[in-house]
Subunit: 339 residues, 4 copies
């Protein structure tokens, strides 16, 4: 039987050993919910990382983190501008509609000639400028971007600066879906601040990066923390043994494990990309590779042991995880090159 080499997704990878250690160390009685010491220190921990005061809470899914963040920026009668392929639009089962009580996702075209799934002030303006300023039309309240994007592309600091300036001018909130924030930060050289820019809320992902069940929602306006905590409880997301979630986050941040894991995944993706050449659909700036290939070619790759998802009829998506073995990535790159 052929050895299987998994490039399906990073979202089901095993848990990093350091996370296991942290979980076991948290296995003492402590206060329930977020009353334990590990949970209580998250604000300081993230404030240090971003070099500015912020608040942070744990939740078990990126969907919850995104929606709780967006709910601080958009009222039920407003709209959230996002890319037409944004995860919140196409892959979260309508969760924004639930958490935001019916607010509307306003689908924005790609901001770049080469498709990147990234927004620009221009692409957003093209969407929202024609909206009449009256009660008959839903008005935008916020913008949501994804770092790294759904196509594996990373916003540069100057792109983020332009977006936050635009958002400020228009009175819009700015949320970042950072399910793969670590991969973007690693790609940008390891600076959290460079990767986050001046967003208002950030869903900082750990689960796809070697964690088990904890993401962080970072609020750069700490005054919103109280509101978000009520909403987290109301959404059934306040776990009573919260220390096991906080412990995962601390372990990820300790010694920059989050960056180390992301660098490893990015490097594996680069190996794959190296074999793709003209097949690449998007620049590889994180841990995902989108490559054109026929059904026959995909079959050929699968028969060699590579697992991955089709991406439409004429392409494939390969995702590297924190624990993707270098030799597997190299092998995949070569196999693609040899097609």
């Amino acid at each position: 039987m052929t050895k299987r080499m998994p490039f399906l997704s990073d979202n089901a990878a095993s848990v990093h050993p350091d996370i296991w250690d942290a979980l076991r160390q948290a296995d003492n009685p402590d206060m329930p919910y977020d009353g334990d010491g590990l949970s209580a220190s998250l604000d300081d921990r993230f404030s240090e990382i971003f070099g500015r005061e912020c608040a942070a809470i744990w939740v078990a899914t990126g969907t919850a983190a995104n929606c709780l963040g967006l709910a601080t920026l958009c009222q039920p009668h407003g709209g959230v501008v996002c890319h037409e392929e944004a995860h919140i639009e196409v892959d979260e089962g309508g969760a924004p509609g639930f958490f935001l009580h019916g607010a509307k996702l306003m689908l924005c075209a790609d901001g770049h000639g080469a498709e990147s799934a990234k927004l620009t002030p221009e692409s957003i303006a093209a969407l929202i400028d024609p909206i009449r300023d009256d009660v008959h039309q839903v008005q935008p309240h916020a913008i949501a971007i994804t770092q790294a994007s759904e196509y594996g592309c990373t916003y540069r600091p100057e792109e983020l600066a332009a977006l936050s300036e635009f958002a400020k001018e228009r009175g819009l909130g700015l949320h970042m879906d950072g399910a793969r924030f670590a991969n973007a930060a690693a790609f940008l050289g390891g600076s959290s601040s460079d990767a986050a820019g001046h967003v208002d809320t950030l869903s900082f992902g750990f689960i796809k990066n070697g964690g088990m069940s904890a993401e962080a929602l970072v609020l750069f306006d700490p005054a919103q923390a109280d509101l978000v905590k009520y909403r987290r409880k109301r959404a059934g997301h306040l776990q009573c043994k919260g220390r096991y979630l906080a412990a995962q986050i601390h372990a990820m941040l300790d010694g920059d494990l989050w960056l180390e894991n992301a660098r490893s995944a990015n490097a594996a993706a680069a190996e794959i990309a190296a074999g793709c050449d003209e097949r690449l659909m998007h620049p590889v700036e994180a841990n995902e590779v989108f490559a054109r290939c026929t059904a026959e070619e995909r079959e050929a790759l699968r028969s060699q042991g590579f697992d991955f998802y089709d991406w439409g009829a004429d392409a494939a998506r390969f995702v590297a995880a924190w624990n993707t073995r270098e030799e597997d990535a190299v092998a995949l790159g070569k196999a693609i090159a040899a097609l």
Copy 2:
């Protein structure tokens, strides 16, 4: 320094060793979300336990389990009858209002002369019979009961039978909040079926009983499973590494660990109760003891190392967990008796 003996709650206790083992065994790549084998086998597992066909899904909190269950039984314009001290009313931060899109909790008085936090057909009828059958008044759609109740009392099979018959007659759904279902089942001799009666949906708790982060929502009408799964996703409760939740549940059910843990907690509570005598406010039929005692008496107990919550101005609540040491419970019982 005095050794602390924790009777605050069972909701922050450590995780049982068997759960840890199961978590580590689940640490292999598998399909994401609930596509893994452990998640997929939950339906069969619970069908076996209850001796009738049911569907079951994992969620991370009892609040989510309760609300997703209730949402199958009550439409947004309807109401859910519950005890006036029900957890869904007083301790879930308004989550039912969120998940049920504004449905109303209809607060029912205690069904027993001695307060039990249990409902009876009579107490429910007294609440709902005066409701006019017109659109101006919210109509009841469902009943929610708690097993064991918020006062640590256990519904007997005949009480449950009367309630389900009443619900059926009135066309109402019947949900059971089983945050401490194991303790009730253990009290009743270990029969899941006896403890569940003929409810439509059951939030089957494991976290207070030695688990880490997984509860089960059991649907005795499996046709509702599809609907509930969409709603779970939409509420941000579909974790991508779901196998770590399913693993906890299987480990709990294996060899009846859930009953063993509950018996241990119940036995500890019985030791405490033995010292309370006339102080007892409610019969002790699970793992909670509510006892009258003055502020001075509580202070005296705390100075001896016992931690617990005040229960109003004139009482205390002591909760035993799966890992409460027998000697601690005995000591507490004696200390109370000596007051």
Copy 3:
């Protein structure tokens, strides 16, 4: 056949001739929605009446006015304190749950020894002081009172002052359901300001007072007007021929027709009350009379031509409208006295 004398309710009475005239005068082409001159002048009109700057919009029902007002004062995760028999609780079909996205109504006992359906700072404090200040419990965001109350009682200026002071101290919004605001104002001598006190939002009723289909929502913080207008549209309450609603309101305010109508109804109620003596359940301070009487007595009254609703098993409610004939009211009073 006996002539029928209607004391069922004021909510289905005929429309006052002045309203008809105003409607016909509005029957010219104008801008749609609230772009017409009549709608646009409502802010000024109500600012003049209350002697302070306010904004005002029309809606077609008191339920919509109440809910749109409350939605400016209470977030979805919060609660609204109201009397346990408040109209928003018992007679609006759960509308607050819908408009406020699941916010909770917190039911408060009567603030007076003699039941009045009026709240006091003390009765509210007794309800909300025990609420723990944590995310597990729904926190109160606002208070809703009814003027005149559900039992036909009128808040005095000093009672309103105490409530608004209390609300301010606790950081709570204060809404007034004024379905029978005119009757209360008439009872207090005709001062709008005395009858409204310092509430934040007021549902100013006209329909029960001789109007056809227009109530006003008055916002004493005009900065909320924009928000409320978006929500009115979103709730399907922005009628395109809004001038026909605005016209009704202007006609009601012209020459104090609203007070004249209310005085007439109040006077009729006083005639009825005069015959009730010891039967009265509540002081008659508006246009409603609640009187104890047996089923046989009610039957006797009905056989004499009086129509009214039973009020529980042992009482009746008689409501006078703007067009109740004095002789009918006198006759009813005498008939009751003669029982």
Copy 4:
């Protein structure tokens, strides 16, 4: 001063004299809400018109009618397929998101080469076939079409038959926004059934056709009526003097006034269209004319006394109402031809 000739919209036109008569005749005491005889007979009236059993209720706006109808066909976690320019998407202030608790509008491209704002089974299939059948993606529950469409085009019976067959195959509900249903029916020769096809719910508009404040929501599955009535109340749309709404609807249906008014408006639109020739953007099949013309041309028309809305940068929309004078329409047609 130039006489103004209004072609802005039909939504602010005056009320037809027959409606006024009916309103005055309804000005007698009757039961409140929808307990009066006029309201109670709506079911029979519409069943007769459509030749099949249906239920019908009044509401004050098309937005409310659309949303209450859609809410019977789409659950909160589902989606409603509609044209990307559908009124529910672009002009109802997000009301569907509110009434449907966050359900998603799924925007469908035009089904015809020449833009018609009409959907076809093919255009819908192209939108929904790529949706993965899993919980991560919102699934379509219903289709909403507009008759006449937002571009003034009318679905033919065979087009409606194809859509209802498609909807049935796919298990989707089918709603018709009939804000200008009368104009479509008139265009098709006057058959209600031809114009409605086999939709499940129909928002039957009267206000744009000479009414004041009443639309009908027709439910072709009468079993839904009870549900819709609870929801109407809950949305604050149950007016207490409902007889004034029912009276309008009966008056419109009496002697086919609704068709007579619509024919008049359609005829006026045809006069305008006659002058447009190559300028026409869409076939004129109701009472709206969309014509290409430059800013200078629009200015020229306005200086001649014609009022209308710009339609983007390069076009104008002219709407005829029930009371548009033939000479005005002829004049406008000639003025356009003379540009």
